[in-house]
C-alpha cells in the first residue's frame, strides 16, 4: 500500500492531509504501520514486523491491517 506522499504524520500521531484539510489521530501502532508503508514496506513485511515486535498472532494482525488499509483508502490517504 502506498501512502500519499504529501501526508504529514507527526510524532504525536497527528495526521494531516494537506489536499483535503482533514486531520486525524492515529494510535502508536497505526502510526508505526503508516511509517512502515511510507518506507514502502509490503503488507507481508508489515505483518512480519508487527508480529515480531508485539505478542500477537499473524491472523489477527492480517485482519486488523486489512481493516486499517480500507480505512486509509476510504479517507483517501493512500494512492
Amino acid at each position: 500500500m502506498k501512502i500519499k506522499t504529501n501526508i504529514a504524520l507527526s510524532d504525536s500521531g497527528f495526521l494531516f492531509n494537506p489536499s483535503t484539510g482533514d486531520s486525524y489521530s492515529v494510535n502508536p501502532i497505526g502510526q508505526e504501520i503508516i511509517r512502515l508503508f511510507q518506507e514502502h514496506k509490503t503488507m507481508d513485511e508489515v505483518v512480519k514486523q508487527i508480529t515480531k515486535e508485539y505478542r500477537i498472532d499473524k491472523d489477527t494482525v492480517e485482519k486488523d491491517l486489512y481493516d486499517f488499509q480500507n480505512m486509509l483508502q476510504s479517507y483517501k490517504l493512500s494512492e
Partner: protein, 393 residues
C-alpha cells in the same frame, strides 16, 4: 511547498542554536578598554507612507473583509500606512478599533448614487489626501468601478478593480454562461423573478436545491414550500432576481487570489472551511495543497485577464470534481490567512496600483489555519455619538 511540521522543526533548531550561542558568549571575559559592541550607523531604508481607505469594517458574525485587509496592510513590509476607515453604520466594530483604524468617515449607501458618493470622497480626500481605496463589498463595487477613472484623475485616489465587463460576467446570474465560456464546471442555475416560476424549476432540478440572493445569502431547500419561503425572504432582503441553483454534494473549498489584469496570477491560496457558522461563514479554515485548484485559478485569471482581488468558491465532490459556485470580485473576510501563509496579496495590490514591481507569489505554507473569534470592546458613548452625528471619528 512547506508543511507545518517542517516549520516546527526549523523553529526548534533556531531556538537551540540561540541557546548554544548564549552559553558560548557568557564564557568571554570582557575588559573596559575594548568595547565589545560598537554602534553601527543604521542604513536608512525609506519606505513610502500611503493613506489607504478601506470599507467593510463590519467585523460581525458575517464579517466584512475590511479588518483583515487592514491587518494585512499594517503587516506590509514595502510601505507604511495611515488607515482611513469608511463605514455605513455607526455600530460597525472597525470604527472603534483605534489600533487598526486611524480615522473613520461615514459614507453614503450605494443606493444614494455616484454623485453623492463622489462628493463625499472629495470632502474626505480634502482632509486625508487618500492614495488608495479598498472597496470590500460586492454591493458597492458597481459604483466604484464606474467612478474609478474620475476618482483617480480628479482626486488622485487609485483603486485596483475588475472591469465592469468582468464584474458582470462573474455575477451569480451569469455564472453558468461564464463557466461554459471558460471551461469551468458550474452547477445548473436559473434566475427567478416570481414565485410562480418555482414549481417548474424544482421539477427540473429536483431536491435539494440552493436558493440564492443576487448579492448575498444562500439557503438550501428540500421542498417546494421551503424554496418559496426562501425566495420570499431573500427577494425581500436583496431584491430580484433570485437564483435557483442545482445542489452539488461535496466539501467547499475556496481560493483567495489576485490577478494583474494582464492574465498573470500574482498570488493564490486555497483554503477549506473547517468550521462553518449557521450563516455559512467560515469560523476556521486551513490552507490546502491542491494543484488542480491552483491550475483552475490560474486559467481563470489567464482567460478573463482578471484585475484585482477575487475569491473563487468551489464544491469538491467525492470524485474530486470541482464545481465553481461563486466568484467574489474582492477579498474575502478570511484574506488575512494568505498573509499568515506567506502571501501578502493585499500588499501586492497596493504596489500594483503604485506601479511598483510586483513579483508573483509562487509558494505558500500548507496547513496554516485561521480561527476566528469574537471580542467585546468597551466603547464610550461620546465616540458612538460622534460617528452618529458628525459622521467622523
Amino acid at each position: 511547498m512547506q508543511y507545518p511540521f517542517d516549520i516546527e522543526a526549523e523553529l526548534h533548531s533556531s531556538l537551540y542554536d540561540r541557546e548554544v550561542k548564549v552559553k558560548k558568549a557568557s564564557k568571554i571575559k570582557t575588559t573596559n578598554k575594548i568595547p565589545l559592541l560598537k554602534s553601527v550607523p543604521k542604513k536608512s531604508i525609506s519606505k513610502p507612507k500611503y493613506t489607504i481607505a478601506v470599507t467593510g469594517l463590519n467585523a460581525i458574525d458575517s464579517p466584512g473583509p475590511g479588518i483583515s485587509v487592514i491587518r494585512a496592510l499594517r503587516d506590509a513590509t514595502s510601505f507604511d500606512v495611515r488607515i482611513i476607515g469608511l463605514s455605513y453604520e455607526s455600530l460597525e466594530p472597525g470604527i472603534y478599533m483605534h489600533d487598526l483604524v486611524d480615522k473613520t468617515y461615514q459614507v453614503p449607501y450605494p443606493g444614494a448614487g455616484q454623485e453623492v458618493l463622489f462628493d463625499r470622497f472629495a470632502y474626505i480626500n480634502s482632509i486625508e489626501n487618500i492614495d488608495f481605496l479598498f472597496p470590500n463589498f460586492d454591493a458597492e463595487l458597481f459604483n466604484f468601478i464606474s467612478l474609478k477613472e474620475k476618482m483617480e484623475m480628479e482626486l488622485g485616489i487609485k483603486m485596483v478593480l475588475p472591469t465592469q465587463e468582468q464584474f458582470e460576467a462573474r455575477h451569480k446570474v451569469n455564472l453558468f454562461e461564464f463557466g461554459k465560456k471558460n471551461k469551468i464546471k458550474v452547477p445548473f442555475a436559473k434566475m427567478v423573478y416570481s414565485l410562480n416560476e418555482i414549481p417548474a424549476i424544482t421539477k427540473e432540478f429536483g431536491f435539494p436545491l440552493v436558493v440564492k440572493g443576487k448579492f448575498y445569502d444562500a439557503k438550501i431547500a428540500y421542498s417546494n414550500d421551503q424554496a418559496m419561503q426562501h425566495f420570499n425572504k431573500i427577494s425581500t432582503e436583496w431584491g430580484l432576481p433570485v437564483l435557483i441553483q442545482q445542489f452539488v454534494h461535496g466539501s467547499e473549498v475556496n481560493v483567495c487570489g489576485v490577478g494583474n489584469g494582464k492574465g498573470v496570477t500574482l498570488g493564490a491560496v486555497p483554503m477549506r472551511k473547517l468550521y462553518i457558522t449557521d450563516k455559512g461563514k467560515a469560523w476556521a479554515g486551513v490552507t490546502l495543497d491542491d494543484k488542480n485548484l491552483l491550475n483552475t485559478t490560474q486559467s481563470f485569471v489567464k482567460n478573463t485577464k482578471w484585475c484585482g482581488a477575487f475569491e473563487l468558491e468551489f464544491i469538491k465532490t467525492a470524485d474530486d470534481d470541482y464545481f465553481l459556485i461563486e466568484i467574489n470580485p474582492r477579498f474575502p473576510a478570511w484574506c488575512y490567512l494568505t498573509v499568515g501563509a506567506g502571501q501578502n496579496q493585499i500588499e501586492s495590490i497596493v504596489n500594483l496600483a503604485m506601479e511598483k514591481k510586483v513579483i508573483p507569489y509562487k509558494e505558500y505554507v500548507v496547513g496554516k489555519m485561521f480561527i476566528r473569534y469574537s471580542y467585546d470592546m468597551i466603547v464610550n458613548m461620546n465616540e458612538f455619538e460622534q460617528i452618529s452625528t458628525i459622521g467622523e471619528l
